[in-house]
Amino acid sequence: MSLLEIENLSLTIHETEILKRVSLCIGAGQIVAVTGESGSGKSMTALAVMQLLPNGAKTEGAIWLGRQNLLKQSEREMCDLRGAEIGMVFQEPMTALNPVKTIGDQVIETIPVHKAMSRTKASARAHEVLSRVGLPPDRFPLSRYPHELSGGQRQRVVIAMAIALRPKLLIADEPTTALDVTTQAQILDLLKGLAREYGMGLLMITHDLAVVADMADQIVVMRHGEVVESGATIDLLNNMQHPYTRKLFQASGHQVSLPEPPEPRPLLEVKNVVRDYRLPRNSLFAKAGQHRAVDDVSFTLNRGERLGLVGESGCGKSTLTRAILGLEEVQSGEIRLDNQPVFAGHKPNPAVRRKMQVVFQDPYGSFNPRHRVARLITEPFHLLESPPTGTERQDRIAEMLTAVGLSPDDANKYIHEFSGGQRQRIAIARALIIRPELIVFDEPVSALDVSVRAQILDLLAELCATYNLTYLFISHDLSVVRTITDRVMVMQAGRIVEQGETEQVFSSPRHAYTRTLIDAAPILPGIGANVA
């Protein structure tokens, strides 16, 4: 008999249909992955099992945990089940822990709530589970606060909380989305090990097929609140029935073809750049410490070349980007664009500034919501000495919107009328409108669903052909960098540890760190190739 059985679960929130007759089941010790794009209802399915749905939610159908129908349990009975029978791990480890309580308190708390054991036993159990998730109390005392831990360590604490009472079912909602690839691999291993060791059922919610392909026993694909396809992982991947599953799979491993780069002629030259940050002083008279975020970095970006920059969070990618864009001054070294320094006499050089544009990661936070699209995309005009006006300005707006696949009529809309993918198109239009020599893409597709990401990558490839783009593409997603760049640099702890032709670096990495990154990155099994 299954551990968890969801039967024809339908959910409406304030009369809006969210889930339509969803069914799936999980056996003891089994790992079931629910995958789909944003808005597919995968997280709501998880929250329905926990009965932690938002206000105004109405459910139909049944969720059987053993012999209990969770939809029929009272709130009190659910409180007894949550934490004891069902544990849950959330996406964002930075905010999933209470910042004002120690990790020990938070792990122990689960136990007395369920009156499962005495105080001393509870504390011993907390020690045990924290050690099990890789935070041995002799190195990570229970008195630590969440802010003293890294993202990966916090996620381990969240997992320790969820498994403190050895629940039969563990739900993990995008548990690794916010983490670096190497940390992701460790956390996935941990979850897999726990499921096997404790015989727990594991319900994994993820948007990333590659994450679950070599881990899940079963895959459930959802779209618009419905299950479109489900089955044992190997069968499903080898024999995809539903077109949406195929589309999702193809989009995950989407490849684009870039035009050949022209003869190398240097555009951006970065020489021995060092960027230090002052640390707060430890005492009034002590010398302030320094943190070297970028350490002696040199590279050249040629005209018409597409250069990638990869590395984990905190490696100095963003600092280097800010220095290149002339947003911050560097302590030593030189950055020149077209043979002119980006920083002239402690001030950003406007002549260089107007030759560069940037596209940021977050399509929701990078626009002023009170301006219309026309005004948003013409913002870079202020860099020009004589910005176009009148019909010339209108023509440029129309041309750019068309170039990124939108309609010229969209110029009069506000940004909230657009989806995430469309917003990223608008961001690209904004960057392109002054025909910059260099565009910096700072994780431009990381916040997008796979199918939208594939479209944006296609758009970039098209634009490369039409506008002869030169760009620096920063990403933590190796598969994206692999297809969208000619050359790649790998950054670790402020240094560039390896650079070279993209294909070469990926197929035969020379530096150990590059190998670690590539090994840690989840990949779709090769069977994906024959559906394309």
């Binding site: 089940l81 949550r82 849950m88 999933a96 004002v100 708390e109 709530v113 802010h147």
Partner: protein
């Protein structure tokens, strides 16, 4: 934690020094010569000079600043120009009314606001919340002297539970003293409580939307347990800020209430001293209030650190 406390203490001392210079300078440039004010417009020049010398107004500005600050350090605030009594005596008499009144009002406002704010946040959008929001809106809108007059009308004149005004003094016992401060404290506390309750509510609502609250629920805590164990302490930071500001206000800003209840408090002292150009008194009371405000802020800073481990610095 100790390092944090010391660091804050250093900034407290710096603030005090800066404040004393500013106060001294502002009072110095204010128009009106106390000596000619005291002696009238027809006074002889030599009489004025003699009085200035007597009041210590004839030295250089720097010398007078250091005399003033040095005196304050040992509790000598100088002598009032108009009453010819030591300022320290005048202030301490009034402080014994104003300080307990402020603390009393603050305690009342906290006791009303915390439960009201938490109650409203826990029942967001329901009738209980709407009632609290309506009442607090009224509490903010209605001026406190109106409350004061209503309180006098009901509890002093009609019910005769309290005196309509005046202060009985502490020498007849703590209870008698508190009794005569009760109506003014309530009048002061109500508008403050209304503000504080709203801050508490909105701060707690922000926290209730945080992801760690969902984590707490996923552990099996009930809504109420999660609110008390994980919500309230996190919600306290903005509340403490407002609380600190309110204490400073209550200490000095109660002139109207002191007037309504005829209480001999600091507010009235300053008011009288300003009208009489009694600069020594004004300077000293203002400095004292600045001292109180900065000290309260220091305590609020320490309270932040007690509530939020992230502020305690690296351990």
């Amino acid at each position: 934690m100790l390092r944090y406390a010391l660091k804050r203490l250093i900034s407290l001392v710096i603030s005090l020094v800066v404040a004393s210079v500013v106060i001294f300078a502002v009072i110095e440039v204010a128009p009106g010569d106390p000596a000619s004010f005291m002696l009238g417009v027809n006074a002889q020049e030599d009489t004025l000079a003699a009085l200035r010398a007597e009041l210590g107004l004839d030295g250089s500005k720097i010398q007078r600043y250091f005399n003033w600050v040095g005196g304050m350090m040992v509790g000598d605030f100088g002598t009032s120009y108009t009453y010819r009594t030591p300022v320290s005596q005048m202030i301490s008499d009034r402080l014994w009314v104003s300080l307990p009144l402020a603390l009393y009002a603050l305690t009342l406002s906290t006791l009303i606001a915390f439960p009201a704010g938490i109650y409203a946040a826990a029942r967001r959008g329901k009738p209980g919340d709407l009632t609290v929001m309506g009442v607090t809106q009224l509490g903010i809108a209605v001026p406190n002297f109106w409350f004061a007059m209503m309180l006098v009308l009901i509890f002093a004149i009609n019910l005769r539970w309290f005196n309509a005004g005046g202060f009985a003094g502490w020498d007849k016992g703590v209870w008698t003293g508190l009794h005569s401060l009760t109506l003014p404290a309530i009048a002061l506390a109500l508008p403050q409580a209304a503000i504080l309750a709203r801050v508490m509510r909105s701060s707690l609502l922000d926290i209730l939307g945080e992801e760690f609250m969902r984590t707490a629920r996923a552990k099996g805590l009930s809504r109420r347990q999660a609110l008390w164990r994980h919500g309230v302490r996190n919600a306290l930071i903005p509340v403490l800020t407002i609380l600190g500001l309110q204490f400073s206000f209550l200490l000095a800003g109660s002139i109207i209430i002191e007037q309504v209840f005829y209480l001999p408090g600091l507010g009235r002292l300053v008011f009288q001293a300003i009208s009489a150009r009694d600069l020594v008194v004004v300077e000293s009371v203002v400095m004292l209030l600045v001292f109180a405000v900065i000290t309260v802020n220091y305590m609020v800073d320490l309270a932040y650190a007690a509530v939020d481990p992230r502020l305690r610095g690296r351990s």
